[in-house]
């Protein structure tokens, strides 16, 4: 078991955002968490990182309880985050962004990892000296993913990577998720509103509603579940054509 959440609660001030969430991610899996706006998806993701800290329950990563660890210590255990809204370092160059992603890594690995990222995202090599804030949304998302991968994480958390992107980039992002998992064996926890794409790429999925897991199953099961279909996949038909 790579990551396990047991009865996790979280609060934003007085707002009780998560009501006892149980969730697990096995080594080598892509697990997706879908849900409507405000269901608590991003809160769940961030509370794994201690932002906000879980107010109840336990978060175990690789056999270690990380519930009370500081955010940077959690990252140092080998979890990387591609945050919602990308949060790249706008005024720094693409190369500097990637370097920041590698602060934890071995100095000696930097050149190799950089080459790997450039192979995965050729556009980043082209733009390496450009200010990250001048990239297009899709390119910024690629940069955010590459930056997260620079520290050679064991587990990658992706928070709404398709948000606000053009359809072509959405497709590309999910291709990359698949490739990272299938070819590089990366374990991924993916939070998405784009349920159709997310469930197709995931081994397993969870549906979050009002801060609680209401459904869980394999990606295929959830895709075929009539409730999921009605709630999250209507309007996903257009996407299916891709």
């Amino acid at each position: 078991m790579m990551l396990e959440l047991a009865g996790v609660h979280a609060h934003y001030g007085a707002i009780h955002a998560l009501h006892g969430v149980d969730l697990s991610v096995q080594v080598g899996e892509v697990v997706t968490l879908i849900g409507a706006n405000g269901a608590g998806k991003s809160t769940l993701m961030m509370s794994i990182f201690g932002q906000p800290r879980a107010s109840g329950g336990r978060i175990v990563f690789d056999g270690e309880d990380i519930t009370r660890l500081a955010t940077h210590d959690i990252a140092r255990r080998g979890i990387a985050l591609v945050p919602e809204g990308r949060r790249i370092f706008q005024r720094m160059t693409v190369l500097e962004n990637l370097q920041m992603g590698a602060v934890l890594g071995e100095e000696a690995n930097f050149a190799v990892d950089l080459k790997r990222m450039y192979a995965l995202f050729p556009i980043l090599e082209e733009r390496s000296q450009q200010r990250a804030g001048t990239l297009s949304g899709g390119e910024q998302q690629m940069l955010a993913i590459a930056r997260a991968l620079m520290c050679r994480p064991q587990l990658l958390l992706l928070d709404e990577p398709s948000l606000g992107l053009a359809p072509l980039y959405i497709k590309k992002i999910f291709q990359i998720v698949r490739e990272l998992n299938r070819e590089h064996g990366m374990t991924i926890l993916l939070v998405e509103q784009n349920a159709h794409h997310a469930l197709r790429v995931a081994h397993r999925g969870y549906v979050l509603q009002h801060g609680q897991i209401v459904l869980a199953g394999t990606g295929r099961e959830l895709l075929e579940n009539p409730e999921v279909h009605a709630a999250y996949l209507e309007g996903g038909h257009a996407a299916r054509a891709t």
């Binding site: 990182f49 932002q51 945050p83 005024r91 160059t93 500097e96 370097q99 920041m100 082209e126 450009q130």
Partner: protein, 434 residues
């Protein structure tokens, strides 16, 4: 995008002529009753007289003026457009060009700084003012670490300047320490105060942080005013020893060897001024070197990343607390060094030198210069120190001029005089090693 560009394209000469002709026609129609015809009093009888040449001149002036106006506005628009396209095209190879120019300017400025006291060796006023500029350059570079790089708005920076100055003042007058002995101690002292300020404010950002730092600056000043036994209160500390040239004092010839007698020179009070100038120049250059090296290290780059996005930094495993504290401590240390120099140069310090006004000026230097830009700080210091000096002729309108200049700079260059940011990492070919 395309339609936008077409719409903004300058008008053709024919269009401009047509436009000017239309203006001339309107001028003619308006001008006939207003200029062309006039009444003249002729022996008690009002008669209408004509002034056709004047009307002609008026219409011609309108025609030419309109033509010129359109031409000028088109020119401005074309230039703005060219600048925008250039900014859009800033990809891959481009940033290096701006950087090279700035590096050139930087070296030229250094050459001027080195030669200045030689050229103006008997002009006290110039050397003295240049020394003041350099103090502000150094303070600006120090505050730049905190505000420009780490993005922590500090309105009480003068506190560290004061800590450095008083540490040297006390160490030298009470314990007889020399300038060079006291310098590192005062720097460490200021850094410690930086951490004292940084620790409780770790969770604060933006305006909230600004308020706390503002208060901190005032606390230090109020302590200096009121703790009379320690600081001498409002009277300050007097007769602080001046720095010596490796043990050789700058004094009129006496029993002990002095700087002038040792080098076989005639004594001149300007020698000390010039020495002080080179001293602050050296300190400032060391500061610059130190800060630009720091920027290229992961620890320093983390300052900038922290400014950009704190949460992303933490998620990358960066300890936000250490990064912020190091920025506060290093910024404070540099301010402390400048304070030591200030005390040594003035020979007298009092709380009056360390008011909020000073903090505001240092912050203005950083902001006007362009946050994070080292060369920008130099230019802004020049402007902010020289402007009030040059404006002495304007007497009480001096500060008005000063304020207006600051506003104009911010309108003209909202990102500061030099908003260009030099990348800290260049692309290396794979296999270069790292």
């Amino acid at each position: 995008m395309n339609t936008l560009v077409i719409a903004r394209q300058p008008t053709s000469p024919a269009e401009r002529l047509r436009d000017a002709a239309a203006t001339a026609l309107i001028a003619l129609l308006l001008g006939i009753p207003m200029i062309g015809l006039t009444t003249v009093d002729q022996g008690g009888v009002l008669r209408v007289a004509s002034r056709w040449p004047a009307l002609l001149a008026f219409v011609a002036a309108c025609f030419a003026g309109r033509l010129l106006l359109r031409y000028a506005s088109d020119l401005l628009r074309a230039r703005r457009l060219a600048r925008e396209t250039a900014a859009e095209a800033t990809t891959g190879a481009r940033p290096a060009a701006g950087g090279a120019l700035l590096t050139g300017i930087g070296w030229a400025a250094l050459a001027v700084a080195l030669l200045l006291p030689i050229v103006f060796s008997d002009n006290r006023y110039v050397v003295d003012t240049a020394t003041t500029v350099l103090i502000y350059v150094m303070l600006g570079w120090g505050l730049n670490v905190v505000v420009g790089l780490a993005g922590l708005l500090d309105l009480g920076y003068v506190a560290f300047y004061a800590v450095g100055a008083y540490t040297y003042g006390l160490l030298s007058t009470q314990l007889g320490w020399g300038f060079w002995q006291a310098l590192p101690v005062a720097g460490a002292m200021a850094a410690a105060f930086g951490i004292i300020l940084g620790w409780p404010t770790l969770r604060l950002r933006g305006d909230y942080l600004a308020i706390v730092t503002l208060g901190f600056g005032e606390i230090i000043r109020v302590i200096l005013v009121n703790w009379t036994e320690m600081s001498g209160g409002p009277n300050g500390i007097t007769s602080i020893p001046r720095p010596s040239f490796f043990g050789l004092p700058f004094k009129p010839p006496g029993d002990a060897p002095t700087f002038a007698s040792f080098f076989g020179l005639d004594y001149s009070p300007n020698q000390r001024l010039i020495f002080l100038y080179y001293l602050i120049l050296g300190l400032a250059l060391l500061t610059n070197l130190f800060v630009s090296r720091m920027r290229r290290l992961p620890a320093g780059r983390a300052w900038e990343a922290m400014r950009e996005d704190e949460i992303a930094c933490k998620a990358m495993g960066i300890n936000a607390r250490n990064v912020k504290l190091s920025a506060f401590a290093i910024g404070a240390m540099l301010g402390g060094f400048a304070g030591v120099f200030f005390a040594a140069r003035q020979g007298f310090i009092s709380p009056e030198s360390f008011t909020f006004n000073e903090s505001a000026i240092i912050l203005a230097i950083v902001v006007l210069g362009g946050m994070g830009s080292q060369l920008g700080v130099v230019l802004a210091s020049l402007v902010l120190v020289l402007l009030p000096e040059l404006g002495r002729d304007f007497a009480e309108y001096r500060m008005l001029l000063f304020g207006a200049a600051m506003i104009l700079i911010m309108i003209w260059k909202p990102g500061g005089i030099l908003a260009h940011r030099e990348p800290t990492l260049r692309h290396r070919r794979p296999g270069d090693g790292r």
